[in-house]
């Protein structure tokens, strides 16, 4: 019962702030509502017994990515901030399509019979994640490290440009 109350409260906050993010006319308010939505997703991870992922979610999404987006908004803002985030002319067809998708998704999920497993979740996840990441998925781990380096260099080159050497 408490689980149900917690779940519906968190789902309401997460989905409500995400929806308000879309319909807000001020892009700065959109960024702050996106932050609330990310923190709501971190709470969903705690409901799913994923404590380490909840911490990573708050650090990376609510910390780093929101700050990135706010930087981007401040670099490109001009004019009246209350009119910075309008809808395009596709808004109404997109809304109809999205409502249809949400209904189809909900019906499909409810109708499907899922193969449940009855193993209790582990108490702490950090050690198990570290074991998996540095043994079975070590190649993916290293490739992700190289990708982050490439993304960093690429972002600097795209913004600053390359200096001619001669």
């Amino acid at each position: 019962m408490t689980m149900a109350v917690m779940f519906y409260l968190i789902a309401f906050v997460t989905l409500g702030s995400a929806f308000m993010m879309v319909i807000s006319k001020n892009i700065f308010h959109s960024a702050l509502l996106m932050l609330i939505s990310f923190i709501g997703v971190a709470a969903v991870y705690i409901l799913l017994h994923a404590d380490f992922l909840a911490a990573v979610q708050v650090l990376v999404y609510a910390g780093a990515i929101t700050i990135f987006i706010v930087f981007g908004i401040m670099f490109t803002m001009k004019g009246d901030p209350r009119k910075t985030n309008p809808f395009s002319k596709n808004a109404i067809p997109a809304a109809v399509l999205i409502l249809l998708f949400i209904v189809i998704n909900a019906v499909t999920v409810i109708k499907t019979v899922w193969p449940f497993s009855n193993i209790a979740p582990p108490e702490t996840t950090v050690k198990a994640i570290a074991d998996l990441m540095l043994t079975k998925y070590v190649v993916g781990f290293e490739v992700t490290a190289v990708l982050l380096l490439a993304a960093m260099v690429g972002a600097i080159v795209i913004v600053k440009g390359v200096k001619k050497s001669s």
């Binding site: 939505s37 990376v60 309008p86 909900a106 998996l132 993916g140 992700t144 795209i158």
Partner: protein
């Protein structure tokens, strides 16, 4: 009948998390399709990334617990990719803004003829 429905509604299971993450994904997709400002489009993409992570973790807990925490590891990879994506995306947006002084997606039409 009503009892069974109330029971389904009040015992939180896999379906609840899947519907939550699916709805969040489509709200993000709505932002991508319907907004004019390119930074709002980027925010919609971020919402879509997070909702996919909820799916991975929920499936890991309810249907694949014998696979240890593979879903968590993949969620961490997705988070790293999202961080890289937002860095490169914002670099592109700022680079384009210098030439066009606009963040309207309608103005980004070099590849259109």
């Amino acid at each position: 009948m009503i009892d069974i429905l109330m029971d389904k509604f009040l015992t939180i299971g896999l379906e609840h998390f899947l519907i939550l993450s699916g709805t969040l994904f489509f709200i993000g997709l709505f932002a991508v399709l319907a907004k004019k400002n390119v930074i709002a489009v980027l925010m919609g993409i971020e919402i879509m990334f997070t909702s996919v992570n909820i799916n991975l973790v929920a499936f890991n807990k309810y249907t694949a617990a014998e696979a240890l925490l593979t879903g968590h590891v993949f969620a961490i990879f997705v988070i790293a990719l999202a961080a890289a994506e937002v860095a490169v995306g914002l670099a592109l947006i700022i680079s384009i803004y210098r030439q066009r002084t606009s963040t309207d997606v309608q103005d980004f039409d070099w590849l259109k003829w």
